[in-house]
């Protein structure tokens, strides 16, 4: 069965420093991987996705993610964190083919301090 793990409940970063939010996955077949951000009392905003092709995927707001097949990881990264990046980040994998439902990780709270 498809699953996603986000091993860190919280990540703390100083503003201006690079950030990484970790995600590992387990799928049968080709993975369709996604990152979303959720601000307090708001919906899920799509950041980026990996379907196929280049292992480095660029997304919204300066975020990128690196797909690593051998390590079954899809870590979210940003070279220079902003205080406004503080939010809850969810990794997700699409189950059941290209249009299957998303299976979400438990989320990682990112806190960026000035």
């Amino acid at each position: 069965a498809q699953s996603v793990a986000q091993p860190e409940d919280q990540v703390n970063v100083a503003e201006g420093n690079p950030l990484t939010v970790k995600c590992t996955y387990s799928v049968s077949g080709n993975p369709y991987l996604f990152w979303y951000v959720q601000y307090p009392n708001r919906g899920l905003q799509f950041l980026l996705k990996y379907i196929t092709g280049d292992n480095l995927v660029k997304g919204s707001y300066g975020f990128e993610a690196e797909f690593n097949k051998s390590q079954t990881s899809f870590h979210l990264k940003k070279p220079s964190a902003l205080v406004s990046d503080s939010a809850l980040y969810f990794c997700a994998v699409r189950g059941g083919g290209s249009q299957g439902n998303l299976i979400f990780g438990k989320g990682t709270k990112l806190s960026v301090k000035p």
């Binding site: 996604f34 899920l44 249009q99 998303l102 979400f104 990780g105």
Partner: protein, 107 residues
Amino acid sequence: EPEVTQTPSHQVTQMGQEVILRCVPISNHLYFYWYRQILGQKVEFLVSFYNNEISEKSEIFDDQFSVERPDGSNFTLKIRSTKLEDSAMYFCASRQIFGPGTRLTVL
């Protein structure tokens, strides 16, 4: 940029009452989904909808839940007899694009 809209943004209801949550997905998309997020927990899949019928549903989506697309634009989730544990944020999605959610509070 196309977006998914949901109404209402917040719904308060009494236990046992029926609620209907509404979504307008992106017009040229074919796959629609409902998810829910209980406060402080992860996002859970409820049901997917394609070609005017349910294509997949989770264990959460029991007989109390139903979905329909009555007029070709709106996509609704109905909970027939709400329970306290139905209190959550309900998100509609059109492919990977999520709506802003409806916060359902059952008293």
